[in-house]
């Protein structure tokens, strides 16, 4: 076993030379491509992760925008609904007022027409009554009266009638 500890400088030199040559060879042929593939994969994973984070941030931004737009649309629809309700109320009130005004106008016009018709009928009636009265008086008096006298008598009669009517109404 003593031989094991006998200095063997040649073996030590061969070990150093062999190892340093191996470092150079593996550095040239193996470590470069191997580490490059590792670094490429790490870079790809890093890029994928960053891409995924960017996509998530973009999705969150779009979601926030959509929520904001949705809130805006809801507010606008509420506003439009409220405006439509208000317009409807105004229109209803206007139409009601117009209808009421039309009804009042029709009523007033009808009243006037009725009054005029009544006056006309009353006039006609008075004339008829006067004719009948004159006729009756003529018959009673058996007296012939000419047209001029008849007219003046009628006028006087109507005047008396009107004054009698006013006195009666008072």
């Amino acid at each position: 076993m003593g031989d094991l500890l006998t200095p063997d400088v040649g073996l030590t030199v061969w070990t150093i030379v062999t190892f340093l040559c191996l470092v150079a060879i593996l550095k040239a042929f193996a470590w470069g491509p191997l580490l490059k593939s590792v670094e490429d994969r790490e870079a790809r994973l890093r890029a994928d992760r960053e891409g995924a984070e960017r996509a998530r941030a973009e999705a969150e931004r779009i979601q926030r925008e959509l929520e904001a737009q949705m809130a805006g649309v809801q507010a606008k629809s509420r506003e439009l609904l409220s405006a439509a309700t208000k317009d409807g109320e105004v229109l209803r009130a206007r139409l009601k007022a117009e209808a009421e005004a039309d009804a009042a106008a029709i009523k007033a016009r009808t009243t006037l027409e009725l009054a005029a018709e009544k006056d006309k009928l009353a006039g006609d009636l008075r004339k008829e009554v006067a004719s009948l009265s004159v006729l009756a008086a003529e018959k009673l008096l058996r007296k012939s009266v000419d047209a001029g006298v008849q007219k003046s008598v009628l006028e006087g009669f109507f005047k008396d009638l009107d004054s009698g009517k006013k006195a009666g109404s008072n």
Partner: protein, 259 residues
């Protein structure tokens, strides 16, 4: 053949080629002859190169499977060992530490394969690895801090000037001690598995010396225990590769960030 001879036969490296003497500067004449251990180390290197290059470059389904095995280990070395220690400097040292981890792991596992030598169960191999760590500590310290700042910061700040030379010597010895501890830890842990496995298997022959029936009755428990230790060695192979890599990173990190 006694137990010590069996152990020596399995664990001691024997030069198989003719003596090749090379003069290496201050080391003088060094025998650079080949041995089974060096060949096993080269096989481990070839396995690592082929497997890792194939996994890294091929687009086949087998390569994808192999990549899915190697990548978690590479990411573990990068994210859990280097980045907490080196921070943004991690990328510069990553190829060294990845190679260190996979080289030690391959050598450890290959040492468990029959007819292969336990490369990391030899102290002179682990000494070479520890020397590489020592060199990397000096390189990283000088590179990150500059030579003067690095030498000054070997001694912790706030030390009285009179104690500075003493502490400098102690710290330099500490630096060597760290590397020696790396060397011994890996060698001892990997050797222990082989020694215990061989001890369990030798129990059969030791008891057979007393009685052949007694020896035969020891076959099942001895082989079972040896297989258990062998399974533990697989776990220890991963663990020791991680520990050596982690401690190397810690020591180099201490030189890079002296505060």
């Amino acid at each position: 053949m006694n137990f010590e001879q069996i152990l020596a036969h399995h664990l001691v490296d024997h030069k198989t080629s003719h003596k090749v003497v090379a003069t290496l500067g201050p080391l003088g004449a060094v025998d650079m002859g080949l041995s089974p251990l060096i060949r096993t180390m080269w096989i481990a290197c070839a396995v690592a190169i082929v497997a890792l290059t194939f996994a890294a470059r091929s687009q086949s389904s087998l390569a994808r499977v192999m990549r899915s095995l190697f990548e978690p280990a590479a990411l573990f070395v990068r994210d859990d060992i280097l980045e907490p220690i080196f921070g943004h400097h991690a990328g510069h040292y990553l190829p060294y530490f990845l190679t260190l981890f996979f080289f030690l792991l391959t050598c450890n596992l290959l040492g468990l394969v029959p007819h292969m030598s336990g490369v990391t169960a030899n102290p002179w191999v682990t000494a070479g690895m520890a020397l590489c760590t020592f060199g990397l500590i000096q390189y990283a310290g000088v590179k990150e801090q500059g030579l003067v700042s690095y030498v000054v910061h070997i001694v912790p700040g706030g030390v009285p000037l009179i104690l500075w030379p003493l502490l400098f010597v102690i710290e330099v010895f500490g630096m060597f001690a760290k590397c020696i501890s790396l060397c011994i830890r890996l060698f001892a842990n990997m050797l222990a598995g082989h020694v215990v496995s061989l001890a369990f298997l030798c129990m059969i022959f030791i008891f057979a010396e007393m009685s052949k029936a007694f020896g035969a009755s020891m076959i099942v428990p001895s082989v079972g225990l040896a297989l258990f230790i062998y399974t533990m060695d697989v776990l220890v192979s991963f663990l020791q590769a991680y520990i050596f890599t982690f401690l190397t990173a810690l020591f180099v990190g201490g030189a890079v960030h002296p505060h």
